[in-house]
Symmetry: C2
Subunit: 385 residues, 2 copies
């Protein structure tokens, strides 16, 4: 097992009708900025319930945080937060709203230019303060409700940032708030949680037995409840299991003390930036191809994945690995999500552009051993056609 | 899935040679009270390394916290903490030292009588402050390093208390610090973690799929590495897996949103109080008997346990349950831990005394459905003879 630090102070409040807990969770004197996305939180009454639960607190609103939230949108929210003297941010939404809110929490209290924060991975800036955050989750997928990271779009790129100051103080996870989501967003959520898990699990053996078993438990659960929760959105237990798995897939637990990959995400980000393909759908395209290309490097963990997640014990090693990749692809397709670039009209002629974008963004040595050069990324993209 | 709140702000610092991190983890101006047990932390040099890592900080010591730490001992530490103006407690030891330190943290800042805190479950007292705590774990077992509870002995009883103020701020888990432990303590640690897990898992079905799979992962890991880490104490990875499983067995994660039992612990506490049998060894006696007596009530989860933990898929339901209980008993015995009262010279003539003790301590309706009356406890004890 590798050395690690694990720290996660977010309070999870899980269950039906827990929005009323906001009155205890948000400081009584807080000036709250409510942040949300495209309007479904308003349309389905969630915002009204949130405002009611906040009692007499001063509440301002900032709607319109888009999927793959844009730097320019978020900087407008920063202006609002400053003008209104906001001292608590409450995100009501999915990963984009939560990620965006984290950025706003840092940028509002950062005296320099907001762009510096996006570059904090490659060139750390000193961030010593952030507004406190709470979330009400309406879309189970990204795990942003219980981690300290986010992804922000700016110009032609996607920027990953993280800072311990932006762990949400609390997150309310009410599965019934997700009953009205369109199926495509649920399918995306299942795949997002699935790929978050395998990015931390299908890597190299590291004797992280608790981590491996827990990752396998998330994957098996997603497989068990995936189609149920897609077809029967009001099945409370299926949705609850999706929601809690999505959170645990990216709260640091399964990745502590083991190698991590994340190349599927990095290549996928370019597909979103260039073609506007949903984040989760890019993962469904890249992951089977990446395993096919890197079957040798990931052999031990792919065999473990085949056996423990898909019960594949027959045949040669190559056959079991191929079968596990095939099962994964079938699972995604059965959720209505395509696993080929061609399904989105992206052909071989665009691969050069994608490779250039990876190069521009410094993605020239990806994966758990940093051995995915641009040449390997090219083979992955070719395999994904 | 049941409603739940999950909150755990303890920072885990895991790996070899991490004691040096104390210099960053403990406030620079802190007046530290080091708490430890019977002297092995001193003998094997751990205390010296801790003091060195604390640099020039003011450090006082309080040794001699015994197994099943006694109220009277801990109140002496409270006196020391007050006299020395201590503002940080650093526990170096196992569950007893950590549990005792949590009590000291509360009692030092509590203006009333320390006994009130022991009764905080039945008659809550207002505890608004506690000294901050850090731990350096030398014995993987109780999970106390990442939870907010403790068990304290007082007069003829054991008292369970918990308070969110006593989550350790950090816990250093260095598997190599446990290499010198005697085998009996390692066997106890394995069993303690195992029973913590089943008290939260072998209950009633509740559609907590992540929780179940994670619990099963801990149990399978303990079975896989149990004998290895007992026989080869310097196998780093085996010991690391024991340590991390023991922490996760009782940090709130696997118990969130599912029913919990804890009757084996409550009955076991009487065996420790009356006969001085090690805590973990009482659990190994009571658990197989409790499952035998309550096989009907726990049928669904015992069958799941049989299949997913022991791969038992053949035979009738009764046969599979009996086989799973037998395998559990064998596992404990193979670790050198007896699973019968008779092994400790306790015969049928003492059962009346034990039942009276349970009654005195209010343990008249135990288990996940509160259906373990004194009569059921009697049958469990008879079955455990």
């Amino acid at each position: 097992m590798l050395h690690f630090e694990y720290y996660n102070p977010t309070r999870i409040v899980f269950g039906k009708d827990r929005i009323s807990r906001l009155d205890h969770l948000v400081p009584a004197t807080a000036r709250v900025l409510l942040l949300y996305g495209g309007g479904s939180a308003k349309k389905f009454g969630t915002l009204d319930r949130v405002i009611e639960a906040l009692g007499g607190r001063s509440v301002a609103e900032f709607g319109g945080i888009e999927p793959n939230p844009r730097f320019s949108t978020l900087m407008r929210a920063v202006e609002t937060a400053r003008q209104e003297n906001i001292d608590f941010l409450l995100a009501v939404g999915g990963g984009s709203v939560m990620d965006g809110t984290k950025f706003i929490a840092l940028a509002t209290r950062y005296p320099g230019h907001g762009e510096d924060i996006l570059l904090s991975r490659s060139k750390p800036v000193r961030l010593s303060e952030a507004l406190p955050i709470g979330t009400v989750v309406t879309l189970p997928a990204t795990g942003s409700e219980m981690n300290a990271g986010g992804v922000i779009s700016h110009q032609a790129g996607k920027y990953v940032f993280s800072h311990p100051l932006v762990y949400p103080q609390f997150s309310i996870l009410d599965p019934t708030l997700t009953f009205t989501l369109p199926p495509t967003q649920i399918a995306n959520g299942i795949i997002d949680a699935f790929i978050h898990t395998v990015e931390q699990y299908v890597t190299l053996p590291a004797e992280g037995r608790f981590q491996d078993r827990t990752a396998e438990g998330i994957l098996r659960t997603l497989i068990e409840i995936g189609k149920t929760t897609l077809n029967d959105p009001t099945d409370y237990d299926a949705r609850a299991n999706l929601m809690w798995c999505a959170t645990n897939a990216l709260n640091g637990l399964i990745g502590a003390g083991v190698p991590q990959d994340w190349s599927t995400h990095m290549i996928g980000h370019e597909l979103t930036a260039m073609f506007g393909i949903d984040h989760a759908k890019t993962l469904a395209i890249i992951q089977p191809a990446a395993w096919t290309v890197r079957a040798r490097e990931k052999r031990d963990k792919l065999l473990q994945y085949a056996e423990r997640v898909w019960d594949l014990r027959e045949g040669s090693e190559e056959e079991r690995i191929a079968a596990a990749i095939g099962r994964t692809r079938d699972f995604f397709e059965e959720l209505g999500v395509a696993t080929r670039l061609s399904a989105y009209g992206v052909g071989a002629e665009r691969i050069d552009d994608l490779i250039r974008a990876l190069e521009t963004h410094g993605m020239t040595a990806l994966g758990e051993k940093r051995e995915i050069t641009l040449e390997v990324s090219r083979r992955i993209l070719e395999t994904a056609l």
